[in-house]
Subunit: 158 residues, 2 copies
């Protein structure tokens, strides 16, 4: 049967060329998250690899100028490579400058957030386990603790 | 104890910048495989992410001009993104032209081989399950079957 579910679960074609800057043939440009589920700004998601035979997924997230990802944490780790542009990220209690092809490891339960600069987009690959826990948002007490550090306080967007 | 095993298994620093073209801080440039274990030419391996908490590994392979990976197959799938240059690859019984950022899916048991052009390097990211089977090399009968196709016969290096 050729139902939409079958299509969704079908293996991708062998080759999916990049068609435009960080847009791929046959890969849907998706919302980052459900609207209203968590704070974020001007960010899109593309799922590049998601296969029952693969224990991980590879996704590509891109922020427009001034965009940022949700400030969150979770038990699963993130394996990140910056794939477009440059920007900054919070991991744990430190803010890092990041550039194209840099590798970022986000350990279990580390608070993290990515931000594009105001004048250019920034995108990154993110590999995660296919089976993983849901992100946690900071409580007011968590935010107070994060804001005890001046650099972190100036960086985070909530 | 600070043994070399501890170091090997220690979590990487949060940020590992790209230091030179597709070379990363704190990532060893390794041989592709054991010498003599299988046919290949002018190819290096860097393991970018390999963590007990991650169900997959992300590796980066780069071929010098004229280099090629081993013609092989295995049960585990490969999730590939070209990260440097352009070239060609065999997947199954087809030869594809590939360019930077293109995505290549190598299904279970598909014969595959990557080749850089003669005048430039080509590199690719490859995500695989952390637990996986060993590659199989083609038997003489497998090679005869592959060479029944003229384009494949012209492409493969053994």
């Amino acid at each position: 049967m050729d139902t939409s579910d079958d299509k969704k679960n079908a293996a991708p074609p062998t080759l999916r060329p990049e068609q435009d800057d960080r847009r791929w043939a046959g890969v849907d440009l998706m919302q980052y998250k459900q609207e209203g589920s968590a704070p974020f700004r001007d960010i899109t998601r593309q799922v590049l690899f998601d296969d029952p035979q693969l224990a991980a997924q590879m996704r590509y997230f891109e922020m427009a100028p001034g965009g940022y990802s949700t400030l969150e944490r979770h038990q699963h780790m993130h394996a990140v490579m910056i794939l477009r542009g440059h920007g900054r990220c919070l991991v744990g209690n430190r803010v890092f400058e990041v550039n194209e092809h840099d590798l970022v490891t986000i350990p279990a339960l580390a608070w993290h957030q990515f931000r594009a600069p105001d004048d250019a987009p920034m995108g990154f690959l993110c590999v995660v386990n296919a089976v993983r826990d849901k992100p946690q948002l900071p409580t007011p007490a968590d935010l107070d603790a994060l804001r005890a550090d001046a650099a972190t306080a100036a960086f985070i967007r909530t």
